[in-house]
C-alpha cells in the first residue's frame, strides 16, 4: 500500500488579503512534510473556474514547485484535461516532460476529460467529444515522448512530423493513469494498460468489484503507452488525531465542507444531456457521503480515513483487502482545518499508521503478455 496526498487547492471567500498566496504556500509546506514522512506521491488536479472548490488551474507549476522543494515524493498530474480547448496535446507532452526532468524522474501522468459544464462550457468545449479526444491524447502523447520525431493526422488535432522536445527523464516514459469517476471507467483504464486513478469512492464492496474488473481486463490490454501501469489508486480524506472522537469531529468538518462546496458546481449531466456523461462524474460520488451536514457529522462513514491511528489502520486494511494499491488523501477544504493541525495530522499518520503498511509493489509493471503468462501460471 502506498500513500499520496491530493490537492484541489480550495480557497475560501473572501478572496482578499493574499489568501490564494497563503493557501498555495500552506499546501507546499504540507508537501514538504509529506515528503519527510515518506508519502509516495503528491497529486494536483487541473480545474478551471471552480470557485472556492479548486483554484488549481496550473498544476504543472504547483507540481514543479513541489518537486523543487522535496527529495523523494513523486509528483502526479491528477489529471491533465485531454481536451483541445484546455490543453493542446503537444503542450501537454512538452510540459510533462519538463516536469519529469526537473523532478529527476518523479512524474506520474494522469489523464482525464473534465466533468463539469462550469469548465467545459467555460472553455467552449463540446461535452460530446471529450471521450474521443481523451482517447487520442492517451495514444499520441506516449508516441511524442518516445519517438525522436512524430507526426499525426487525427480527429482532435493534426501535426506534421516534428521533434516534440524535451523527452521525459523516465524511460520509456512516466507511468500513465486514467481518472476514474464514472462506473466503468476502470475498464477504460484497464484496456489501455493505465493505472486507475480513483477520484470518487463508494463502499468497500463497490471498490472491490471495480478492482476485480480492472485486474481481469488489464491482462488483455492494448497499452496506450510502452508499458503497463497496473495500479489502483483511490481518493480519501485524511484527518488523524490521537483522540478518535476529535479526529472524527474535525474530519467530518473537512468532508462536509468539501462535499457542500462541490455540490454548487454544475455537472455536465445536469444541464447538457449526453451519452458521454452518463453519471454526475468526478464531483459527485466523493461528496455524497459527506455532504449531508457540513460541520455537524459525528460518525465517520465507511472507509473514510478520519479518526485516531488505530481506526485509520483498520480502515486502510479493509481498502487493502479490496485490492487498492494506493490511497491519495485530501487534507483540507476551504481552510476548514488550521494549518498546524493539518501538519500534525500528517506527521501522526506518518509515524503511527504508515509503518503498518508495506510498500512492496513496483511503480510500474510489465508487458501485457507477461501478465497473461503470470495469470496462467497462477501468479499475480
Amino acid at each position: 500500500m502506498k500513500f499520496g496526498i491530493f490537492y484541489e487547492i480550495s480557497v475560501p471567500r473572501p478572496w482578499e488579503n493574499d489568501i490564494e498566496h497563503e493557501v498555495y504556500h500552506r499546501c507546499l509546506e504540507q508537501v514538504r512534510v509529506a515528503d519527510e514522512m515518506g508519502f509516495h506521491s503528491v497529486w494536483a488536479v487541473e480545474h478551471h473556474f471552480l470557485e472556492e472548490y479548486s483554484h488549481c488551474s496550473a498544476p504543472e507549476l504547483f507540481l514543479t514547485a513541489c518537486a523543487m522543494q522535496t527529495k523523494q515524493i513523486r509528483v502526479g498530474h491528477g489529471i491533465v484535461v485531454c481536451v483541445p480547448q484546455f490543453n493542446h496535446p503537444i503542450r501537454a507532452a512538452e510540459r510533462a516532460a519538463v516536469l519529469d526532468i526537473l523532478s529527476d524522474g518523479r512524474l506520474e501522468f494522469g489523464t482525464g476529460r473534465s466533468a463539469t459544464w462550469t469548465e467545459l462550457g467555460g472553455m467552449d468545449a463540446n461535452p460530446d467529444e471529450t471521450k474521443e479526444t481523451w482517447d487520442e491524447y492517451t495514444r499520441t502523447i506516449p508516441q511524442m515522448w518516445t519517438n525522436e520525431r512524430y507526426g499525426y493526422e487525427g480527429r482532435a488535432f493534426r501535426m506534421p512530423t516534428r521533434a516534440v522536445l524535451p523527452k521525459p527523464y523516465q524511460k520509456p516514459h512516466p507511468p500513465m493513469w486514467v481518472a476514474v469517476s464514472s462506473p466503468g471507467t476502470e475498464i477504460d483504464a484497464a484496456e489501455r494498460g493505465m493505472g486507475s486513478l480513483g477520484l470518487t469512492f463508494g463502499g468497500f464492496a463497490e471498490q472491490e468489484e471495480k478492482v476485480d474488473r480492472y485486474r481481469s481486463r488489464i491482462r488483455d490490454c492494448e497499452p496506450a503507452g510502452l508499458f503497463v501501469n497496473e495500479r489502483v489508486a483511490t481518493v480519501n480524506f485524511l484527518y488523524c488525531h490521537p483522540d478518535n472522537e476529535t479526529g472524527i469531529k474535525t474530519g467530518s468538518r473537512l468532508t462536509g465542507s468539501f462535499g457542500y462546496l462541490a455540490a454548487q458546481l454544475l455537472p455536465v449531466r445536469e444541464v447538457h444531456p449526453t451519452r458521454s456523461y452518463p453519471n454526475p462524474g468526478l464531483l459527485a460520488a466523493t461528496r455524497q457521503q459527506a455532504a449531508q451536514n457540513p460541520g455537524e457529522g459525528m460518525s465517520a462513514p465507511e472507509g473514510v480515513c478520519i479518526g485516531n491511528p488505530d481506526r485509520l489502520v483498520e480502515e486502510i486494511k479493509k481498502w487493502e483487502s479490496c485490492g487498492v494499491d494506493q490511497i491519495n488523501f485530501l487534507l483540507n477544504a476551504l481552510e476548514t482545518i488550521p494549518q498546524q493541525e493539518v501538519l500534525d495530522s500528517l506527521r501522526l499518520f506518518g509515524e503511527e499508521v504508515m509503518p503498518h503498511f508495506v510498500d512492496d509493489k513496483p511503480a510500474t509493471t510489465s508487458e501485457p503478455r507477461e501478465l497473461a503468462a503470470s495469470a496462467a501460471a497462477g501468479g499475480d
Binding site: 471567500r13 459544464w117 467555460g122 455540490a263 454548487q264 444541464v271 447538457h272 444531456p273 455532504a291 457540513p294
Partner: protein, 249 residues
C-alpha cells in the same frame, strides 16, 4: 462557503399562490410534451434572484420550460414557466419566478396543490420537425419566445430534470407566510431530443425577475414523458439555509 441568495422572500412572492394545505396527492399526467431551454444568466445579479435558503449554481442558469398535456386527469393544458437554477444545500433545484397556464382545471390544481406561481394566459407550445418552441404573449407583445433548434434524438435516460422550490404562502402553526415548497416530479421519458437553445424574446419584468438576463445558451431538450406530480414531502424556510431550514412533512 458558497454564495447564498439575498432576495427578500417578500419580493419573490408577487405571483406566489396560497396553498390551502399541503395534503397533495400524487398525480400522473400521461404523454406530456416537455420543452426545456437552458441558458447561463448574468452572474452579477445571481444572488438577488434567490432567497437566503438557496445558492446559485456556478455558473448561474435559467430554465425555460414549456409543457403541453393533450390528455389526462387535469384535461388538456399548456404551461410555460421560467426558473432560476439553484441549490438547496447540495441538491439541484430550480426556483420558478412565474408560470403562465391556459385556463382550466390544470391552472387551479398546479397553483393550489403544487404551488406554481400561475397566471392564466395563452402559452403556445409548437412542434415542428426542425424546431420546437414555447411562446407567451402579453397582449400583442411577445414576452417569451424560446426554441430548440435542430433536434437530434438522444437516449431517454440521458436527461436529468431538477426539482422545483416553489415560493408559496403556507399556513403553519397558525401563521401564514412564504415557504419554499419542494416539488420533485418523476419523469418517465418515452422519447427525447436535444438541440441548440435559442431565446428570441424574454421580458424579465413580465417574468417577475427584472434583473434576470439570459446571456449564453447551453442546450435545449424536447421530450415526451409521463410526469408524476408528487406528494409534497418537504418545505423550507426561505430565510434559513436549506440544510437547517428544511422541514419534513
Amino acid at each position: 462557503m458558497p454564495i447564498n441568495g439575498n432576495a427578500d422572500p417578500g419580493q419573490l412572492t408577487r405571483y406566489a399562490p396560497t396553498m390551502p394545505n399541503l395534503d397533495t396527492e400524487a398525480l400522473t399526467l400521461p404523454n406530456v410534451k416537455v420543452l426545456q431551454v437552458i441558458y447561463e444568466i448574468d452572474d452579477s445579479v445571481m444572488a438577488e434572484l434567490l432567497p437566503p435558503a438557496l445558492h446559485p449554481t456556478i455558473p448561474p442558469t435559467m430554465h425555460v420550460i414549456g409543457l403541453r398535456a393533450d390528455e389526462g386527469p387535469l384535461g388538456a393544458f399548456t404551461l410555460a414557466s421560467v426558473r432560476v437554477g439553484c441549490r438547496a444545500a447540495v441538491r439541484p433545484r430550480g426556483l420558478p419566478t412565474r408560470a403562465v397556464c391556459t385556463e382550466g382545471a390544470a391552472a387551479t390544481a398546479l397553483e393550489e396543490r403544487w404551488g406554481f406561481p400561475i397566471t392564466v394566459g395563452e402559452p403556445v407550445l409548437r412542434e415542428r420537425y426542425d424546431r420546437q418552441s414555447i411562446e407567451v404573449n402579453d397582449g400583442n407583445v411577445a414576452v417569451l419566445s424560446a426554441q430548440l433548434v435542430d433536434p437530434v434524438p438522444i437516449g431517454n435516460g440521458d436527461l436529468l430534470y431538477t426539482a422545483g422550490m416553489h415560493v408559496a404562502n403556507v399556513e403553519r402553526d397558525g401563521e401564514t407566510k412564504p415557504w419554499l415548497v419542494q416539488v420533485d416530479p418523476d419523469f418517465e421519458v418515452s422519447r427525447a431530443d436535444r438541440g441548440a437553445a435559442q431565446i428570441d424574446a424574454f421580458d424579465s419584468n413580465f417574468w417577475d425577475a427584472p434583473d434576470l438576463r439570459p446571456v449564453y445558451p447551453i442546450i435545449a431538450s424536447y421530450t415526451t414523458a409521463n410526469i408524476t406530480l408528487p406528494k409534497i414531502r418537504y418545505i423550507c424556510d426561505p430565510l434559513q439555509p436549506a440544510i437547517s431550514g428544511t422541514v419534513a412533512l
